[in-house]
Each structure stands twice: as C-alpha cells, then as structure tokens.
C-alpha cells in the first residue's frame, strides 16, 4: 500500500481535502456524533467502519450537508472542504453537493432513461452547451462509472431496468458526471451480489486517481480491500483513525480490536 506508507512522512505540510473540527450532530435530543475531529486526504479512499447506529453514515452525510434535509438534525462544529467551512451561512448547499457527490446504499436511479439519469446533473449546473457536448459528458461519466460498454446501445432505456450492480454503477456515473472532487459512498455494495460488489470495488480503486473517496461499509474485508485509511466509529465517537493496514493489524484502541475480531458490533 503505497499511499499508506508515504502519508506518515509529510503530515504537517499536507493540505487536507476534508477536515472536521469538533463536529457534533444531534437528532433532536439524540447525540449522534460526538466531537469528531479528523482530516481526510485527497485522492485517497477512506473507509468508515463501525457497528450499526454508530454514526458513520450520519457523519458521511454531514460532508455534503445531506443532513439538512432532516428537520430534527443539528450539526455543530466545522467541516472544511479545501479550507472552507461548508456550514458557513454563505455556503450554498446546492453548490457544495455538486462538488461533493454521493452514492447511496440502495441504487436509486431516477425513473428516467439511462442518458437522462447521467445528464441531469450536468444539465442543471449548465455544464454542457448543446446536445453534442452533453453527450460527451454523459459518455465520459458512464466510462468512469465502468458501465459504458454495457449500456452504450440502450441509453434510451429506463435506468430502473438495469440489474442492481449496473444500477449502482449508473448512480456512480451520475455522481461523477458533475465533476465532483469528493465522492461519498454510503454502503454502496450492501444491496449487491459478490460479483457486482467486486466490480464496484474495482471501480472505487480507479476513482481514487481523481477523487477523494469516503466509503461507509459494514464489511471489514471490503474496508481492507479498497481503502488506504480507515476510521472506526463507535457510539458516535471516532474511536480510531489510521492507515488501514495499521487498524486491521495493530489497532491501538481495545474497542477497535474487539470490533474487528468480531466481539462487538
């Protein structure tokens, strides 16, 4: 793991892609995330692991402010993307979400054609002038989503008619079509079979060339396979955050050890 080894050397001078500073999240009276402070690298896959209800998805949804859609959710603290606080009142969450793409647990293509699914983001952000340009954008997004060869002959067919794995790759293509810098993935493989999962994991590894990827997963094997950094959450706390190799071979915190060896969670 090349990235893991070089990350230790220049921690101080590094500019982090995402930085969380004392982030607290409340759902009504429920304190879901407690004082999380962490920095996430660019062009790296970071995995969030932890038992159900530990707050890893909640924290992920803070990074593109999807928690804004939940009326009872309150977010405190700072999250910086490229040094800018995304919870600053001047920040438009709509602009933010164009830069921080998201892929959900269950594939959720729009009930529209494959083409329209991918073209929607670029269209509303005015990223393509004219039809030809839009077609180029869609094609390149579908290629990056590793699904172009499978759907190039049936772009007019509904996206909901694809298989689960194809739908999820379509959603990834849709997310990368707006040229985001960060890609958030909330258990993207939990609804997929092992073959589709392997395809998605391969894709995640390719996406790392261009994006900073944060992935929430329930599968520790998956975290070990795809990520360079791993963060372990437990009961709303960020218990341990380190190189993936380090977490799985030599965890510092006893709770991390208990979880990865299967004693809690």
């Amino acid at each position: 793991m090349y990235d893991a080894s070089h990350s230790d050397s220049d921690v101080v001078s590094r500019e982090y892609k995402i930085s969380a500073r004392g982030v607290d999240v409340f759902y009504g009276d429920n304190h879901a995330i407690k004082e999380v402070t962490a920095d996430f690298d660019d062009k790296t896959v970071t995995a969030f692991i932890g038992p159900s209800g530990c707050g890893k998805s909640t924290f992920l949804r803070c990074i593109n402010r999807m928690n804004d859609t939940i009326a009872s959710a309150r977010v405190m603290g700072e999250i910086l993307v490229d040094g800018e606080d995304i919870y600053d009142p001047q920040v438009d969450p709509v602009q933010l979400r164009a830069r921080v793409g998201m892929v959900f647990q269950k594939p959720n293509p729009f009930p529209k054609s494959i083409f329209d699914n991918v073209a929607y983001g670029p269209k509303i952000h005015g990223m393509a002038r004219g039809k030809a340009e839009l077609q180029d954008v869609v094609e390149s997004a579908l290629r990056r989503g590793a699904i172009w060869d499978e759907v190039k002959d049936r772009l007019d067919e509904p996206g909901t008619g694809l298989s689960g794995g194809q739908q999820q790759r379509l959603c990834i293509a849709r997310a990368v079509a707006t040229e985001p810098e960060i890609l958030l993935m909330d258990e993207p493989c939990s609804a997929l079979d092992p073959i589709a999962t392997a395809q998605i994991e391969e894709l995640i590894d390719e996406l790392r060339q261009n994006y900073s990827v944060v992935i929430v997963t329930h599968s520790m094997q998956q975290a070990a396979r795809v990520s360079q950094k791993t963060a372990f959450f437990h009961l709303g706390n960020l218990v341990e955050y380190d190189d993936t190799g380090q977490i799985f071979t030599n965890p510092k915190d006893p709770r991390t050890e208990s979880y990865i060896t299967g004693r809690i969670g």
Binding site: M66, A71, M102, F104, F110, P111, Y120, I124, R174, A175
Partner: protein
C-alpha cells in the same frame, strides 16, 4: 403448535397435523363466517346497484325518444306575407299548417272526423317552428318542405306508455281520448313515428306550454363553464398548496393544525359552502347571482380539500431515495420536487383532481343557495356571458324538473340523471386511463 395450556382430557392424537382440535375448529369457523358475510355484503351491494341502474335506464331512456309527425307542407309567398303582417304571427302559421294537414288527412281516405281543435291538441308548437324555418329560408316558399313536428307531450307519453286512455278525464283541456284515435290512425299511415330526441340534448328548458321540448343543453353548458372555473382554480391552488405543505413547510404545530383543518374541510357538508358563497361572493363581493362563475368558485372551495389530500398522499408515496438522489447531484429543493417528485406523483394528483371534479359536477346543494336553479330558457350569447350570465347546471336542472307537476318532466329528470352519470363515468374512465398511462411509463 404446542399442547401446553391445553386441557388434559384432549385425546393424544391432537399432535397429528391431520386432526383438528376445538381451538383450530373455532378459528376455521370464524373465518368461514367472515367470508360468508363478505360474500353476502357483496351480493347485496350488487343487487342494489343493479336495481338502481335498471330503474334509471328504464325511467330515463324514454327521454331520449320523442314522437313526431313527419308531413309535407307548402307555404306560398302570399301566405308568408299575410302571416308576417298579422299580430299573432305564429298563430297564423299554425292555422295554415292545420288547414293543410286536414286536407292531407282527408286525402288519405281516413274515415275519421278531423277538426282543427283535435290537431291543435295533438301537435306541439307548430307556429314558431314554421316561422323560424321560413324566415331564414325564404327561398323555400312555394315549395314542398318536409317538417318533423314534435307531438304534444301527452301524445308523446301515450306512445311511451306512461299515459293511458283511461287516465284521461273527460274535462281535460289538453287532450281527449278521441284525439288518440286520430293519432293511432296517423301512426298506422306512417305520419307519426318515434325518433331520437336531439332536442333533449341540445335544447333549453321550457315551461308548461311546450313541456316535451325541454332539453338539458343549456345546463350542460352551465356545468361545463362551472367545471372550467373549478379546474382552472382548484388544480393549481390545490397542487401548489400541497407541494408547499408537503415539501417546503416546516413541520410544526401550525402546519399540523392546517393539515387537520384541511381534512376536516373535506367532510364539511356542501350546503355550508353554498351559504358561504352566497355571503362572500354574492352579498359581499357583488358577483352576479346564478352565474356559473360563482358556482365554480363555491365548488372550488369544496374541491380543494379533496385535491390537496390526494396530492399530499401521492407526494408522500414518492420514495425519499428519489429526493436524495436529486439533491445529491446538486439539485435545489425546488428542482428536486419539480423535476423528479412531481412527475412521479402525477397519476395520483390527476386521479384526485378528476375525482374531485366529478364530485363537484354532481353537487346540487350549494347551487340552490346561489340561485343556479332557475328557469333558463336560452343559451348564453357570448363566452363571457357563459361565465357570468345566469345559468343552471345538470344536477340543479334535474332537481328543477323533478319538482315540476307535468308528468313529462319526470322522464326528463331521469334522462338528466343518465346524462349526469355518463359524464361522471367518462371522467372516471379518463382518470383510470391517465393513471395507467403515467404509471406504465417505467
């Protein structure tokens, strides 16, 4: 299933799956009873429906038929001028026609004494039909023209079987039993026959002097203008209100309060809306009385809760994952709603709207209060007059006819019910088709 807690004296083979114990027998019996109840409820409902449909059809179909006399008639130029110069013009036309008819009948070698009085009692309004025809077709003067003159409503009812000879008293000034002998003879001679009654569909209401000529056309037009107002107002207002409440408004006690009250409004009796319309639209805002515009406004108030409730339900039914998907690619809240949620909710919204409109179409009580139940003897002249001129509506017209004394209006009322039901049925079919069409897309 365990035997724990079972009485000890039960036979041991209760463990076999094939044997039943008292408990499961009771359960099976309860289920059978419930099924039987359900079936009997269905049968009862179907029987009542059948009874309803049969009585409507058998009572209403006669309204779509009428008895006419088909006869050739020649009016000369001199007769035309004489009639136009007279004081009672239609009377003169009528006399010319009767004279000619008497000659025609005598030419047929019919052994019956024919006098003008008999013919006057048998025929409907001849004079005005002739005058209207010749005034706009002066070139046909002097030529033979075949007229189809509607028979008097009593003759019409005699051939429809709702009036018997025995039912005619000797001092009836509208018809005598002997008149019907002539009618029967003319019928055998082919002069009198029954045809489809277009007049019922296209005509306007008429009073006792021509009860058979009453039609539902003007009221259909009144209902049409009213529905136009309802559609144009209630669909955008209702959908906008539900989108705001469902997608944008903060969830707090105020929106809860509004939601409860909208649900309550849907259950408010329509006559309450009627008196509200009378007070607000007519007495306070001074909008014209009896106008489809006001009727439409009142029915809009009544329809809005229906539309809002069904729209909110169909918005709620759109999976939240679609909203998340749209928001995650950087759509604004409004873009997410209008590009993705609304199209998916469309079938439900349309169905709710059409059901609401159908309800409004059949509503009578509020119309009584705003005066849309009057006697409307002509069509509106302009589109504007269609909205603000006095008019009736289909259900109000039916109510009106049902309360008249002349028996021919009873069949008109039943016929009106058939028209109303046809409209409602076609609206429901449109709702079903729209729903199918929009849902089948993916």
């Amino acid at each position: 299933m365990t035997n724990n807690g079972m009485p000890q004296d039960l036979p041991i083979p209760a463990r076999s799956l094939k044997s039943t114990n008292a408990h499961s027998r009771r359960r099976l019996r309860a289920e059978k009873c419930f099924r039987a109840l359900g079936v009997s409820a269905m049968v009862t409902a179907l029987l009542f429906l059948l009874l309803l449909v049969m009585s409507i059809v058998s009572n209403g179909l006669p309204a779509f038929k009428r008895t006419i006399m088909s006869v050739d008639f020649v009016l000369s130029q001199e007769q035309f001028e004489e009639a136009e110069a007279a004081l009672l013009k239609t009377g003169v036309y009528s006399d010319f026609f009767t004279q000619s008819l008497v000659e025609t009948i005598q030419a047929l070698d019919i052994p019956i004494e024919v006098d003008q009085g008999t013919i006057n009692r048998l025929l409907g309004k001849v004079g005005s039909i002739l005058r209207e025809h010749y005034r706009s077709n002066t070139d046909q003067l002097g030529q033979a023209v075949t007229f189809e003159i509607p028979m008097a409503s009593r003759v019409d009812r005699y051939y429809k079987g709702t009036l018997s000879r025995e039912g005619i008293s000797s001092n009836n000034r509208f018809i005598r039993a002997s008149d019907l002998d002539l009618a029967d003879t003319l019928r055998e001679a082919g002069l009198i026959r029954q045809t489809f009654n277009w007049q019922f569909l296209t005509g306007v209401d008429s009073s006792v002097d021509n009860p058979g000529g009453a039609g539902i056309g003007a009221s259909v037009l009144g209902s049409f203008f009213m529905m136009l107002v309802v559609l144009v107002l209630s669909l955008p207002i209702g959908v906008a209100a539900s989108i705001y409440l469902e997608e944008f408004a903060a969830k707090n006690w105020l929106t809860d309060f509004i939601e409860v009250n909208i649900s309550n409004l849907a259950a408010v009796p329509s006559i309450v809306f009627g008196i509200l319309g009378l007070a607000v639209f007519i007495q306070f805002m001074h909008l014209p009385q009896s106008a489809p515009l006001v009727g439409g406004l009142v029915l809009t108030l009544m329809t809005l809760p229906t539309i809002i409730i069904s729209t909110r339900a169909s918005l709620k039914a759109v999976p939240p994952s679609i909203r998340d998907a749209a928001l995650a690619v950087g759509a604004s809240k409004m873009q997410a709603v209008f590009h993705h949620v609304l199209p998916l909710a469309m079938p439900g919204i349309l169905t709710g709207t059409i059901i609401g409109l159908a309800q409004a179409l059949g509503e009578t009580a509020p119309l009584l209060l705003i005066g849309m139940v009057g006697f409307v003897a002509r069509y509106p002249d302009t589109i504007l007059a269609g909205f603000e001129g006095p008019n009736s509506a289909i259900p109000a017209q039916i109510f009106n006819w049902a309360s008249r004394s002349d028996a021919i209006f009873a069949e008109k009322a039943w016929g009106g019910i058939i028209i109303l039901l046809l409209f409602l049925m076609s609206m429901n079919i449109v709702a079903v088709l729209l729903r199918r069409r929009f849902e089948r897309r993916w």
